[in-house]
Amino acid sequence: MYLTKKLQLKIIEDIMIKKVYEDSVNYFQVMDENGVIDKSQMSNYIDDSKITEMYKWMSLTRAADSKVISLQRQGRAVTYGPSVGEEATQVGSAMAMAPKDILVPNFRQHGSYFVRGLPLYNFFLYWKGYEEGMDGTKAINATPYTVPVATQLLHAVGLAFGQKYLKTDANVLTYVGDGGTSEGNFYEALNFAGELKLPIVFIIENNQWAISTPVSKQTAASTLAQKAIAAGFKGVQVDGNDPLAVFKATHDALENADEGPMLIESITYRLSFHTTSDDPTKYRTEAEVDEWLKKDPLKRVRTYLEKKGLWNESRQEVMDAENAKRINEAVEKSEQFKPNPKTIFENIYSFMPDTLKDEEDAAINSGFWQQGSY
């Protein structure tokens, strides 16, 4: 006899005598899209000066973003994945970190890097296509941009193990996109971190789109946060366009990281393209983008600050001019960078193998790297 799935489930429910597991996923928001704060969700460690700081970091991130895009369009930067729309997730979480904590980003957390102190020069140098841009990451306790999706999560797990083992009292904060939650490395990382009870916070920067694939095509699960439950720890959803909510969730998770990992699904939206190489109008509607524009993180925070009398048009102009000046100086400096072709040979091993040395010498004698020679 074949039973319909519904009937099977009904029978299972009827005969079920013992519930072996139950959990839930909560969602929260502190500041809504109109810039109104829900006082019941507010924490005493967030004040107006912190909110102003958030606004400034988010604004710098957006300005740097649009600069790289414009450079890329002129052939002066490489393919670039902007963070526009996702600034609250990046800035809000990175601001909750202690300096000793370690940041493990993917390839889009530009705002997190800025908050941690990555010099703008390094940022623009990297996006001009030079690894040297990443030589500034260790000094700010961050790992370099990682491109293969979700692979960085395992490095974060190992780093968290190191902090626990070496008793540094530092925690690790790492990011993955919504698409990344479909990768095996994502589950392996969560499972390892849960089993080893490591001081790590995973942030899913759920920007709704993995290039042209919507999150609804990544999974049948109703939230991404619930994926933590199977790994034995808590998951929570936050409004990822609300930097206060992101800050609070991250802060609390880091505060309790000695008790084990935490997963935060930060619900945001990629207002721009995946990278400079795709055209989102091919796969999503303008109406959808318009809806999310109303929830823009910068807009809501500015509205709040203006209502409080902490911000106005002239302050905005001063900040914009200052950001533009810093960015232009960094770009100019990065364009003066003189690459040394030897560096691609000499940073592979802790020693120089004879065979590689031969290749290096041959390359140098031929002068093949001379600019414009290919």
Partner: protein, 321 residues
Amino acid sequence: MMANMNSAINSALNIVMRDDEKAIILGEDVGKDGGVFRVTEGLLAKYGEQRVIDTPLSEAGIVGTSIGMALSGLHPVAEIQFAGFMYLAFDQLVSHAARYRSRTRSTWKVPMVVRTPVSGGVRTLEHHAESPEAYYAHSGGLIILEPSNPYDAKGLLIKAMHMEDPVLFLEPTRLYRLFRQEIPEGSYEVPIGKANIIREGTDLTIVTYGTMVPIVNNVVSKKGINAEIIDLRTINPLDEKTILQSVEKTGRVMIVHEAELSFGVGAEIAARISEKALFKLNAPIMRVASPSLPYPFPSYEQFYLPNERKVSEAIDKIMSS
């Protein structure tokens, strides 16, 4: 001490764990079980669960986590239970372990050793007899070691753990307990990137490594020919100098490995000899390897693996050409 390769590696691990608190052993069943080949036996009892970690069954997890441990200043030595399961960690090895240093211009380093049993001849299940060295040797940034005797196994592993590079340490299962040899009880290093001339000769150079070393050695002894046998020990970076010097002396060269013939380590060596010593050769370069097809089930491996007879016939052929 008298040691087989298995106990020599165990001794090396014991020394690095004793001397460096940053050394961490991790892998599947490496703790209480001492690993499926018992290579890590006794280490959990000595160094505790914090340093000898039975991990979840997750190869990418083990290697990816090891990379993170290395970034944090530790020196992990991970075990992947069989090389045939390491493909799940391939991405972590070639996309990250090999590249992290260059990606950050040596600011971040990945001091790490990944140990894994390789090669066949011991009648195992499918995927337990792979010889995958060429896959990894093709990625600059990784160091690939494969010892053929207890002395080299211990010294190479200790050396690997004293370096700040990512090292893949391939252990031929067939050699784990094949023979014993006198090795130093304490710490010593065998250099990386330096092949070992295990027998000097003037008429033929045989370049080999891993499981094929004892086979080649037996054949040369039995035939009584004046052949020079080079045991690579390090596959990448290749000790080209030792090979070329020998070839220039003998004028004949044969490369013997267990891995598949096509696109293998032998092809790389043959190409380098062709580029740099072609006119010193008195005969075409010859390769002896397994056929270019997936490793067969155990009852077919006798038809697949290079054996003494295949090597012997190849020697006859190259000496008469």
